[in-house]
Subunit: 149 residues, 2 copies
């Protein structure tokens, strides 16, 4: 429908712009954006296999192997075996990983607070109202792989 098509396009453009916002909010000398997103996934959805994680984050399986090795080396994640299927490696977040994410989120929340305070109240309210939907949107994307024609 035309109304939907218009907001699809606007949303596509909006997502592009969010990239620079997200980069700007990332603490410079810290873990990568993908690493942070992966830790967030591990924090929310418990231990996961490498392939599963790779699919959710939109990286290749070897890429996830390397990322997990990096995180393990930093003490932020931990590998363990799967009881039933010995091919599977389960990856979980450590206490240090949780702490890092908590600190990072607190810092971001502060920075966002400063920006949000400069927005009209209408805009702030609209963003707050849209958050649950945005969360469900990202969950959908994690579940159903996107087609790349």
């Amino acid at each position: 429908m035309s109304a939907t098509a218009v907001s699809d396009r606007a949303l596509a453009i909006g997502l592009e712009r969010l990239v620079s916002l997200i980069r700007r909010l990332a603490p410079p000398s810290s873990i990568s954006l993908t690493a942070a997103s992966t830790l967030a996934t591990l924090m929310a959805d418990g231990p996961l296999g490498i392939s599963d994680l790779a699919a959710r984050e939109g990286v290749t399986q070897p890429g996830m192997t390397q990322l997990v090795s990096r995180l393990e080396g930093q003490g932020l994640a931990r590998r363990s075996g799967h009881a039933a299927d010995r091919r599977v490696v389960l990856v979980g977040i450590t206490a240090a990983g949780r702490q890092l994410m908590a600190d990072r989120r607190a810092l971001r929340a502060e920075q966002l607070s400063l920006l949000l305070d400069q927005l009209p109240a209408d805009d702030r309210d609209a963003i707050a109202t849209a958050l649950p939907g945005l969360t469900r949107l990202t969950e959908l994307a994690a579940t159903e792989p996107v087609q790349h024609a």
Copy 2:
């Protein structure tokens, strides 16, 4: 205030998750996320200097020099001199660059359409309503550099 603090935190978490959504929606064998965001900025705000662009995108000045060189090599951007201040290099987007962005946005809009169709109408409406505010938020971030304690 407490209500604001809660949504700051939720927004901080939401932005984290958007990283994987954005990556997933990016066509695999195309330009980088930063390159796309930079072209979007050039498309919207006309020719800009290297330093200005670097600040807006949250990368270093040498990083932007290299990115612009890459874009120029691909025929997507073009350097030109500044009439008054000969230190300045103005960077503009080419017709090919505009075309690439248009194609990319159309593809994203399609993909988003498929995802949005699976969301409850309430969520879709809320996201559409929040878009202008999100756009203003990213503009604020581009204007006022964020403090990294």
